[in-house]
């Protein structure tokens, strides 16, 4: 049975709230870099960057962070394709990096992302924004900005659809 848990207006509202929370946590400091984790995190990062710049006009950078080669399960899974990492030309040293993904589950992707960031530079601060936190963490990791806390069982599947990739905005559980 598929159940829709977030519709397009819900997603819009959640992202807008997160954008406000990010602006608030910055307390007037600039130098934000949104790094999206492929595939859907990249598009969510772009949306958040736009929303933040609307709330408080400022220069925000957006990039893509591929974490594939930093994963801890590579030897147990068939080969995953890598995606090009794309960070601002000026680098990420001294910036505030907002890492963005669609779903937070075991926390292993975020761990890999933190390693990938360390190899790219030394931001002042790294924060993590996620559209859906479905629980079941396997590592001591939490998100700073959460669109929706979604209690799930491990056997359920959370599907995030994003208009840029899937032609519509929707989060469902199956």
């Amino acid at each position: 049975m598929m159940r829709i848990v977030l519709t397009k207006p819900d997603i819009d509202r959640a992202l807008k709230r997160i954008a406000h929370e990010i602006v608030e946590s910055q307390r007037g400091r600039f130098g934000l870099v949104f790094l999206g984790i492929p595939t859907r995190g990249v598009h969510l990062a772009r949306r958040l960057a736009r929303l933040v710049a609307d709330i408080e006009p400022q220069e925000v950078q957006v990039g893509t962070l591929d974490v594939t080669m930093y994963r801890d399960d590579l030897a147990h899974q068939s080969t995953r394709a890598t995606v090009a990492t794309d960070i601002p030309a000026a680098g990420i040293d001294g910036t505030t990096v907002i890492l963005v993904d669609d779903v937070l589950f075991s926390g292993r992707t975020v761990r890999a992302a933190l390693d990938a960031i360390t190899a790219l530079g030394r931001p002042d601060v790294v924060r993590f924004a996620v559209l859906v936190d479905r629980g079941h963490r396997e590592l001591p990791i939490r998100a700073d900005f959460v669109g929706k806390n979604l209690p799930t069982s491990t056997s359920e599947r959370v599907n995030v659809s994003i208009a840029e990739v899937d032609d519509r905005d929707e989060v469902s559980i199956a």
């Binding site: 591929d66 930093y70 590579l74 080969t79 394709a81 390693d115 530079g121």
Partner: protein, 313 residues
Amino acid sequence: MKHLISTRDLTSDKAVAILDTAHDMVDVRSRDVKKLPTLRGKTVANVFFEDSTRTRLSFEAAALALSADVTTFTAQGSSVSKGESLKDTLQTLEAMGADFIVLRHSHSGVAATVVNNGWVDAHIINAGDGTHEHPTQALLDAFTMRSRLRGETARGMDLSGIAVAIVGDILHSRVARSNALLLRTLGASVTLAAPQTLLPREIGGWGATVVSTLDEAIETRPDVVMTLRVQKERMSSGFFPSESEFSALWGMNDSRLSRLPSTSIVMHPGPMNRGLEISGSVADSAQSTVTEQVANGVAIRMAVLYTLMGDSR
């Protein structure tokens, strides 16, 4: 895919995926931190029964860039001189913890023999077997062509529409065979130009056009001219009358370069015999990709190690 023995093992999709991963590895090579943790705790054994500079160093650099441990075995100065067999040598290396064996041997078919007999569990990568194949060289050449000729839009693309002329000592060249097969898989058209004495008999199965002079190949205005090393060490008899005649008829020189489109590239797998198959000024020209091929070799071998690691079958 657990092993890489021949470019015949690669479908177009698989080959393009390896080139795309290599694309990302080039980016990693340009960062401050040039290392990835991907192969941490794994051991790559370079097993070279035949001399090599760039292939061995390139695999070593690739393995180190992925945080693997590297052991290097060269037949010279080993127990091979005491009569130890290939099987025993490889099993010894595996017992010491080798997860990948990068194998270079002077006999054709050795890498396939090792895999088919199941002598070891490690991933086997053919780094050149006699006059047979050298798949990672073909991949790095394909990568170099794609990057140079397709530029920014290279990612995800194959080589369809690209015309490649392979010139010179094709008979002794595992590079030529691996390239001809892979280029066809990737959609490029291949012309072979060589003296009759330096063409292998089984060339019909390569899907390539054969012409009898380099000038004839140049007239077709190919996008790529791939020159090959004249392999004196594999020649016991006279395959051509003299070196000066070879370079006059088959050598890539300034006058031939000037008849190519300015966008065409000249490749050489190295080591070069300057003045024989390629003139010094062509080798050092802006259209030459010789040093680029070496740099791309590390990225391709990182991509190959990564692609094989996930597959245990």
